[in-house]
């Protein structure tokens, strides 16, 4: 037990270190980095000013739009699918198999198919293949399993249509779960690297990940700029996580009980 606790403490340190250092590096003045001595290190916002000259804001906009649209679709399509499975549709196996074969593994055939229908280098290439997320379906299914199903049966006896049951009765009850699944889905899509690079990597549709990687390749020495860019790119997710952290972790855990 003592060993476990020591390991836990060390591992927490190991996890926190890069995050803390990133926060710090973002505010380092350029001179401090040139001299590379702790004594002169200070606080400055100049990195963020330098950042304004890069296309980071457009990249953030593209990512927010693509990931936002994707998550919206994932929640709508996912809740409907979870409801169907909860009602007995034998599709859970399929969902789990697809979980093991994600879109990024299928990049070669997807590239060909998107090319054939002329969707390469469009926003749709970033959104369409991800609209049915096995993870979101799984999380929502587990949440539906925790609800008393008599509720749905009673509504059916009263003649409620399926859409009414899903969107008027279940969706409001599952608000916390929808938010949590939405944030996890958003993070998963936001964090795609190779897929957007291949399918829409040039020019206008550069996502924030593609932008960051290019920045790291082109300015490996500019710690402050890199730190600031990484921080800005992380902020949307970080804020969402800080607000909903408890809920996300509860929903995630409850799915595995």
């Amino acid at each position: 037990m003592i060993l476990y606790r020591i390991v836990t403490a060390l591992f927490c340190l190991f996890v926190a270190l890069p995050i803390l250092w990133l926060l710090y590096a973002a505010f380092l003045p350029a001179t401090a980095i040139l001299q590379a001595s702790l004594a002169t290190w200070g606080f400055s916002l100049e990195n963020f000013a330098a950042l304004a000259e890069t296309p980071i804001w457009r990249a953030m906009g593209v990512s927010l739009l693509a990931s936002g649209l994707t998550v919206l679709g994932q929640l709508v399509i996912g809740l409907m699918a979870a409801y169907a499975i909860r009602s007995g549709a034998p599709l859970l196996g399929l969902v789990l198999v697809v979980l093991a074969l994600p879109a990024e593994l299928l990049m070669v055939p997807l590239y060909r198919q998107l090319q054939l229908v002329g969707l390469l280098d469009t926003l749709w290439a970033l959104v369409l293949p991800f609209l049915a997320s096995p993870m979101v379906i799984f999380l929502l299914l587990q949440s539906l399993r925790r609800l008393p199903w008599e509720l749905v049966e009673a509504a059916r006896l009263d003649g409620a249509r399926e859409a009414v049951i899903i969107w008027r009765i279940l969706a409001p009850l599952l608000r916390p779960e929808l938010i949590a699944a939405g944030i996890l889905g958003f993070a998963a899509h936001w964090n795609l690297v190779l897929y957007p690079r291949v399918m829409a990597g040039v020019g206008e549709l550069q996502t924030v990940q593609v932008f960051l990687i290019d920045l790291l390749r082109n300015h490996p020495l500019d710690w402050g700029l890199l730190g600031a860019a990484a921080l800005v790119a992380t902020l949307p997710l970080l804020l969402l996580y800080l607000i909903f952290e408890k809920r996300i972790i509860e929903v995630f855990e409850a799915s595995f009980k």
Partner: protein, 278 residues
């Protein structure tokens, strides 16, 4: 036969899965028989890609590297997930630790790569600056893979901790109490009761972890791009390199097929083997 009305709600999800998972899955078999650069029209070449695959030393090396990578990450991932979940169970810090460990999985991956680069880079990273220690990540053949493995653990252990922690909470207190009444001490309760009841969860993590290990490439792309000397070129990254940097998409399709088969076979074998031992 009429399907229940509620089942039709799965139609949109099925349509998307059909178009973007099942169709590519089938199509890749056909593309694997092509010589195709991605831009010019493809030419059918029969089984040439598969013959090339069998003789491709880089491919076999990549498979071996993937195995090493799995051996480096999986046992550590499982042990850490379990140890940390047990260590924090019921502590006041539990929520904080979980929130912290889950965080790297949500941080923008490009940002994580930058954070690690700034910290651990051997030429001008913070650790090198402070201690003068040149970390061997890009010079020693063994070290690159360790670096990628550490990054992967950094990113994903939080998920494992949450899954084990959830399972721990699912163990009824009465079961442990009964063992204590029968004279078991805490260590024995942990060893014989908790471990036994955690089995299905650990099995789940083994299978999931293996699937991710076989397909991992993002960390390699972000951190090392296969360097030094190709020692971090895992099979998932090799696929990306072949298809989208050397523009041999036909050969890439053949590789996709093999990786999919390996994933499924390994996952099924594991589920069988570990499931039987229970």
């Amino acid at each position: 036969m009429r399907l229940p009305r509620a089942w039709w709600q799965a139609a949109p999800a099925l349509l998307i899965l059909l178009l973007f998972s099942l169709l590519p899955l089938l199509a890749v078999v056909r593309y694997a028989t092509w010589d195709w650069s991605g831009l010019s029209p493809p030419t059918p070449v029969g089984l040439a890609n598969f013959r090339r695959l069998l003789a491709d030393a880089e491919f076999w090396q990549a498979l071996l590297t993937t195995l090493y990578f799995a051996l480096l990450t999986l046992p550590a991932f499982l042990w850490l997930s379990r140890a940390i979940a047990i260590a924090i169970a019921g502590l006041r810090l539990e929520r904080f630790v979980k929130a912290l460990l889950f965080l790297p999985g949500l941080i923008t991956v490009g940002g994580s790569a930058i954070a690690w680069f700034l910290l651990y880079n051997p030429d001008y990273g913070l650790i090198t600056e402070l201690t003068g220690l040149a970390l061997p990540w890009n010079t020693q053949p063994w070290a690159g893979l360790v670096y990628v493995a550490l990054f992967t653990l950094w990113q994903s252990t939080g998920y494992g901790v949450l899954v084990v922690s959830a399972a721990l909470k699912g163990i009824p207190e009465e079961v442990k109490e009964a063992a204590r009444v029968d004279g078991a001490n805490e260590a024995q309760v942990r060893r014989y009761i908790v471990s036994l009841l955690l089995r299905p969860t650990m099995l789940f993590l083994v299978v999931l972890g293996t699937v991710f290990a076989i397909q991992s490439y993002t960390a390699v792309f972000l951190l090392t791009r296969g360097a030094p000397f190709g020692t971090t070129r895992v099979v998932g990254y090799y696929l990306y390199e072949v298809a989208f940097e050397r523009f041999q998409l036909g050969y890439g399709a053949a590789l996709t097929l093999v990786i999919m088969l390996v994933t499924l076979v390994v996952a099924i074998l594991q589920a069988r083997l570990l499931g039987e031992r229970r």
